[in-house]
Amino acid sequence: MQLTDYIAPLMQGAWVTVQLTLYSTVLGAMLAFASGIGKLSRNRAINAICVAYIELFRGTSLLVQLFWLYFALPLAGSAMGLDLRLPPVLAGVLALSLNIGAYGAEVVRGAIAAVHQDQREAARALNFTERQTLWDIVIPQAIPEMMPPFGNLAVQNLKDTALVSLISLGDLTFRAEQIRNYTQDSTTIYSMLLVMYFGMALVLTVMMRGLERYVTRWRRARS
């Protein structure tokens, strides 16, 4: 087996990694918004659910969450007479996005809380409802503040996808392990793995910068 023979299977794995990252980052962002806003809610039930979710997923290991969803949930389900077996992709995406959503929630909550009180007063004086104030006035100003930490979380998420190889999902790390078992060429394989993750992280960072520029375009208007 030659070095060039590694490329095709690694690229296949990389594509799975890209998909996992994309789905779980998007789903994670939605969870982050929902629970970050929910944590600021005055409704006690909503508040409690969001706090419980955030603390539970921040306070436990991603690996354990993944194993629990993939191995434990089906057994718990069958004990209750339910079929809760998840396909590996779904278990992987769920574990990753629930995890990243919990960290993102704190980013969302913090950015919303940091919008100046004056803005809320102006909105109240103009008779916006609380909901309108949140969505029209506060969140658009909070989103730019969320972007740098969101960028970090997205890259973190990309790297965390390597864990799904442990539930036999054919991502980049899984493919690399397969080749390594076959060839014992650890140095080459792991070096290629590093470079590929680094390349993907670089692309992701550039994409997040682009998104950041887009959501902050009003700040750069020049007279």
């Binding site: 004056d118 004086a125 008779n127 409802t129 658009p140 100003q141 009003w218 700040r219």
Partner: protein, 256 residues
């Protein structure tokens, strides 16, 4: 005063142990232009913030247009107002803030049209027409597409005035509208306020440190001290012949 548009009846406002308004009685007539002057911490801005429903009260009753602002008629007399009641009452009031408080992520035009569209339910075209008239009025017709940070402080405050007027309030509250401005920009804002005072039957309540301006535009000037009105009268009376020592001291300190 018969049929005042604003009435404070023994209103008490406290921040912790500090009593900011101490059984304040205060009235403003329809269309009247009233200036509130006084040392900082005397409760001047608090009066406006209570009217704009940004601060609640601990005692007494505030009425706007004959209806209690912070209370609702219940089966056993007055009870604290619901958010729905406050929402209804706020339609009569508008406020211009010391720090302008424009929405930085919206263009000037959208700053002015957003509330008329979302809150009053105007069509976008109607709101835009209204906004353009108001921008004309404040002399900023050519700045509609800019963002607030691209404007000078004086221009921003004029947008703030247009934004408040777009909601067609009966009462417009000015909370130290020129205090955050560089001295050379104060004039343009005072001009706009002065023109409003002359040309509109809007009721205006102005908290200010601009004594000469207060004297020019007001029907009545109130001197606040320690949570009460220490002295009030026409600008002539108050500025040329103050009765109270405390008023005289204050005027001497600020006019010299």
């Amino acid at each position: 005063m018969n049929d005042p548009i604003i009435k404070f009846d023994k209103v008490i406002k406290r921040f912790g142990d500090l009593t900011v308004l101490d059984e304040l009685d205060f009235e403003v007539g329809r269309g009247e232009k009233v200036s509130i002057i006084g040392p900082s911490g005397s409760g001047k801005s608090t009066v406006l913030r209570i009217l704009m429903t940004l601060e609640g009260i601990e005692g007494g009753v505030v009425t706007v247009n004959g209806e209690p602002l912070w209370h609702e008629e219940g089966p056993d007399g007055l009870r604290p107002a619901s958010e729905a009641h406050l929402h209804k009452m706020r339609t009569q009031l508008g406020m211009v803030f010391q720090q302008f408080n424009l929405f930085p992520h919206m263009t000037v035009l959208r700053n002015i049209t957003e509330a008329p569209v979302k809150v009053l339910g105007l069509s976008k075209a109607e709101a835009k027409g209204r906004a353009e008239e108001l921008l004309e009025l404040v002399g900023l017709a050519d700045q509609a597409q800019k963002y607030p940070h691209q404007l000078s402080g004086g221009q921003q405050q004029r947008v703030g005035i247009a934004r408040a007027l777009a909601m067609r309030p009966n009462v417009l509250l000015f909370d130290e509208p020129t205090s955050a401005l560089d001295p050379e920009l104060v004039g343009e804002v005072l001009n706009v306020i002065g023109r409003l005072a002359e040309e509109h039957d809007l009721t205006m309540l102005l908290v200010t440190h601009e004594m000469r301006f207060a004297r020019e535009i007001s029907d009545r000037v109130c001197f606040f001290d320690q949570g009460r009105i220490r002295e009030e009268g026409t600008p002539e009376e108050l500025f040329t012949d103050p009765k109270e020592d405390r008023t005289r001291e204050f005027l001497k300190a600020v006019l010299d």
